[in-house]
C-alpha cells in the first residue's frame, strides 16, 4: 500500500477523475456496438426507404412514396391481418396456460415439481428452426404420427395446412416453443412473494386456490404485462415458422404471409431493397404503436 501521508493529495485527485469518467468508459463498448448495429442500420434503412431505384432513372429521392405504397399495399396489410389473427389466438392461449401451470407449480401442491420445472423449459433451448421442422414432420399428411393415428382410428386425416388450420398450426408451434419460458418467468415472480403473506391468508381461512387467484395473481400483474408486451413484439415478427413451412403448405403460405416474410421476399428475391426497408419501418411502427397502446391501457388499469 502506498504511503498515505505522501500520496494523499494526488490519490484523491485521481479518484475524482476516475469516478467522473468511469461510467462513460463502462458504457463505451456497449454503446459503440449499439450505435453501429442498431442506430446506424436504422438510419441507413431510413435513408434507403426514401429512395427508389428503377431501371429507368436509377436511384431517386422519392420522399415518402415507398411508405405511401406500403400503406396501400394489400399484401402488406393481409400479412398484418394474419398476424392479428395469429396473435389474438396464440398470445392469450399461451400466456393463460403458462400462468395456470406456473400457479400449479408454485402452489407446491403437485409432486415432482423440480422435474417439471426443468423439463418445461427445454423447448426454449430448441431452436425455432428445429421446432418448426419437427412439428412440420409431425403434421405431415401422409406419414406424420397424427395422420397415422387418425388412420388407425378410422378418423379423417387432419389437414394442418389448409387456410383455416394453418394459423392454429403455426400458433401451436410458437406456443410449444415459448410456453415454458413464460411459465418460468411467472413462476419466479410468484416465488418472490413473501411467505408471511401466505401465512396471513391461511390465518384468514383462505384455501390455496383462493390465495393464488385473489392475492398472488394481482401481485404479479406487472410481470404479466411485460410478458404480454414481449409476446406481442415477438408474434408481430413471425418469420421462421411460416418460412420453413412454405414447402409443405404451398397453397396457404405465400410470400407475403407475414410482413417480415414479405420484406424478406422483397429484399432478397425481388431485390427491392428500398421498398423492403420501408416495409420494415412500417412494421416497426406498427409494433411500436401496438406495444405502446397496450402499455398505456395496462398502466391505466393497474393504477386504478
Amino acid at each position: 500500500m502506498t504511503d498515505i501521508a505522501i500520496a494523499a493529495r494526488p490519490r484523491r485527485a485521481r479518484v475524482i477523475i476516475n469516478k467522473k469518467i468511469a461510467p462513460y468508459i463502462f458504457l463505451l463498448p456497449f454503446l459503440l456496438l449499439f450505435a453501429i448495429f442498431l442506430i446506424v442500420p436504422l438510419a441507413y434503412a431510413l435513408n434507403l426507404s426514401v429512395y427508389r431505384s428503377a431501371l429507368v432513372g436509377g436511384l431517386r429521392f422519392v420522399w415518402f412514396d415507398n411508405y405511401k405504397r406500403a400503406f396501400t399495399d394489400a399484401n402488406f396489410w393481409s400479412g398484418v391481418w394474419t398476424l392479428f389473427k395469429f396473435g389474438i389466438l396464440q398470445i392469450p392461449v399461451m400466456l393463460i396456460l403458462s400462468l395456470i401451470f406456473a400457479l400449479i407449480l408454485d402452489s407446491g401442491v403437485a409432486y415432482a415439481r423440480a422435474f417439471f420445472r426443468i423439463s418445461f423449459f427445454i423447448p426454449y433451448a430448441v431452436p425455432a428452426v428445429i421446432a418448426t421442422l419437427l412439428w412440420g414432420y409431425m403434421y405431415g399428411p401422409a406419414y406424420g404420427p397424427f395422420a397415422q393415428l387418425a388412420g388407425v382410428l378410422h378418423l379423417a386425416k387432419p389437414d394442418f395446412f389448409n387456410d383455416s388450420s394453418i394459423i392454429p398450426a403455426i400458433a401451436n408451434i410458437a406456443t410449444w416453443e415459448y410456453m415454458g419460458y413464460n411459465m418460468i418467468i411467472y413462476f419466479a415472480a410468484l416465488q418472490a412473494i413473501p411467505m408471511d403473506l401466505e401465512e396471513a391468508s391461511v390465518m384468514d381461512g383462505a384455501s390455496a386456490f383462493t390465495f393464488a387467484f385473489r392475492i398472488k395473481l394481482p401481485m404479479i400483474v406487472p410481470t404479466i404485462i411485460v410478458t404480454i408486451i414481449f409476446s406481442i413484439i415477438g408474434s408481430l415478427q413471425l418469420f421462421t415458422e411460416p418460412y420453413l413451412l412454405i414447402n409443405l403448405a404451398r397453397n396457404t403460405i405465400n410470400s407475403h404471409f407475414t410482413p417480415n416474410l414479405y420484406a424478406y421476399t422483397l429484399a432478397f428475391i425481388g431485390q427491392q431493397y428500398n421498398y423492403a426497408a420501408a416495409i420494415s419501418f412500417v412494421l416497426g411502427g406498427v409494433v411500436a404503436i401496438v406495444s405502446y397502446v397496450f402499455m398505456l391501457a395496462a398502466n391505466r388499469r393497474v393504477s386504478e
Binding site: 391461511v202 383462505a206 385473489r214 401481485m219
Partner: protein, 353 residues
C-alpha cells in the same frame, strides 16, 4: 377457565429439539407474553398455537377442543405478523374484509364489522388506500384491524412492534394495551423486548432454548425470579450478580472483603444478585464493600454509576434523580439490602431460606 392449553407440547426440526415439553394454561381474557432471546423458541411456540407449524408431540386445546391436528383457519385464531403481511394489491378495506369474505359472511355483516373496527383503530380516513400509501404505524393498525374483524377466540401477535422506530413503538404499545382493555380478548404476544413484556402482560412466559423458565405476572418475575436466567433477563439495567460464600450469620463477598448480614442463609448459595436500585452508595469506608466509580451516566431522571469493586467486578448502581456530586474516580462504599438480595445455587436456581 382456561381458553388455551398446551400439554407436553414438543417440536423438533429433524434431530433438533426446538421446543421441549411445554405445559401452559392461558386463561380467558389474559394478555400472555412469550419473551426470550433469539432462538428461545418463542415464535415457534406461537406458530404451534396458530397451527402454522405441526407439533412433534403433545396436544393443543382451544376452548375445550383438541385442535392439535387442525389447520389454522379452523382454530378460530387471528395473527398479527411482524411484517404486517398486508395484501399489497388490496385497499385497507379489502384487506380487512378478506377473511370474512372467505368465510362467506353476508356483505352487510362484513361492512358493519370492518367499519366498527376501523373506527376503533382510527383508520376510517384511510379505508381506500393501499398499504404502500400508509405509514408503518398505520399499516400495523390495519394488520391489527384485520385480526379483530374475525372475532377470534384469541389474538396472536408475532413481534408486532419490532419494525417500528422507538417513539412509534411506545405509542403503539399503549394502543395495544388500551385495545386489550377495550376488547377483553385473550392475547398471546411474542417479543424479545422485556420492556414490552413488563408493561403489557398479565402473565409472562419466559423462554430459553425451547424450555419455559418461569411463568408469572410481571411483578412476580421481577421480584421473585425463579432462576438466574429470568433474574437477568427481566429488568434493565441487568441485575448485578456476584459470587458469595455462606459464613456464619450471612454471606461473605469478595473473598471476605465484606460481609452481608442475613437472618437465615439457605444451603448451597454460591451467587447473589442485587438489582441496581437495591444498591446504595455511601462515602468511602462505609458499607459492605469498597468500590471505585468508573463511569457515570446521567439521564436527568436517573443516574447510573458503574462501580468497580475488587474481586467482584463492575456493579451497576442506580440513583434516582441527578446525583450531581458523583464523580468518576471517586471511592465509595457499596451497601446491599439483605431483604432484596436474590440468592442462587450452583444450578443457577433461586434458593430461599
Amino acid at each position: 377457565m382456561a381458553v388455551i392449553q398446551l400439554k407436553d407440547v414438543k417440536k423438533s426440526f429433524g434431530s433438533v429439539d426446538v421446543i421441549g415439553n411445554v405445559n401452559l394454561e392461558i386463561g380467558d381474557g389474559e394478555f400472555v407474553i412469550f419473551v426470550g432471546p433469539s432462538g428461545s423458541g418463542k415464535s415457534t411456540l406461537l406458530r404451534l398455537v396458530a397451527g402454522l407449524e405441526d407439533t412433534t408431540g403433545g396436544q393443543i386445546i382451544i376452548d375445550g377442543t383438541d385442535v392439535t391436528n387442525m389447520g389454522p383457519a379452523e382454530r378460530e385464531l387471528s395473527m398479527v405478523f411482524q411484517s404486517y403481511a398486508l395484501y399489497p394489491t388490496k385497499t385497507v378495506r379489502q384487506n380487512m374484509s378478506f377473511g370474512l369474505e372467505v368465510a362467506r359472511l353476508p356483505r352487510p355483516e362484513i361492512d358493519r364489522r370492518v367499519n366498527d373496527v376501523a373506527q376503533i383503530l382510527r383508520l376510517s380516513d384511510y379505508m381506500d388506500r393501499k398499504p404502500r400509501a400508509l405509514s408503518g404505524g398505520q399499516r400495523q393498525r390495519v394488520a391489527i384491524g384485520r385480526a379483530i374483524v374475525r372475532e377470534p377466540v384469541a389474538f396472536l401477535f408475532d413481534e408486532p412492534l419490532s419494525n417500528l422506530d422507538a417513539a412509534l413503538r411506545v405509542e403503539m404499545r399503549i394502543e395495544i394495551a388500551k385495545l386489550h382493555q377495550r376488547l377483553g380478548a385473550t392475547m398471546i404476544y411474542v417479543t424479545h423486548d422485556q420492556v414490552e413484556a413488563m408493561t403489557l402482560a398479565d402473565k409472562i412466559v419466559v423462554l430459553d432454548h425451547g424450555a419455559i423458565q418461569q411463568v408469572g405476572s410481571p411483578m412476580e418475575l421481577y421480584e421473585r425470579p425463579a432462576n438466574l436466567f429470568v433474574a437477568q433477563f427481566i429488568g434493565s439495567p441487568k441485575m448485578n450478580v456476584f459470587p458469595v460464600q455462606p459464613v456464619a450469620g450471612g454471606l461473605s463477598v469478595a473473598d471476605g472483603a465484606g460481609t452481608i448480614q442475613l437472618a437465615a442463609v439457605p444451603a448451597g448459595v454460591v451467587q447473589a444478585g442485587a438489582r441496581p436500585e437495591e444498591i446504595t452508595l455511601l462515602p468511602a469506608g462505609q458499607g459492605h464493600l469498597p468500590g471505585k466509580i468508573e463511569v457515570v451516566e446521567r439521564l436527568g431522571s436517573d443516574t447510573y454509576a458503574y462501580v468497580a469493586a475488587d474481586k467482584v467486578g463492575a456493579l451497576t448502581v442506580r440513583i434516582v434523580g441527578n446525583a450531581a456530586d458523583m464523580a468518576v474516580g471517586q471511592t465509595v462504599g457499596l451497601v446491599f439490602n439483605p431483604a432484596r438480595l436474590h440468592l442462587f445455587d450452583g444450578n443457577d436456581k433461586v434458593v430461599r431460606a
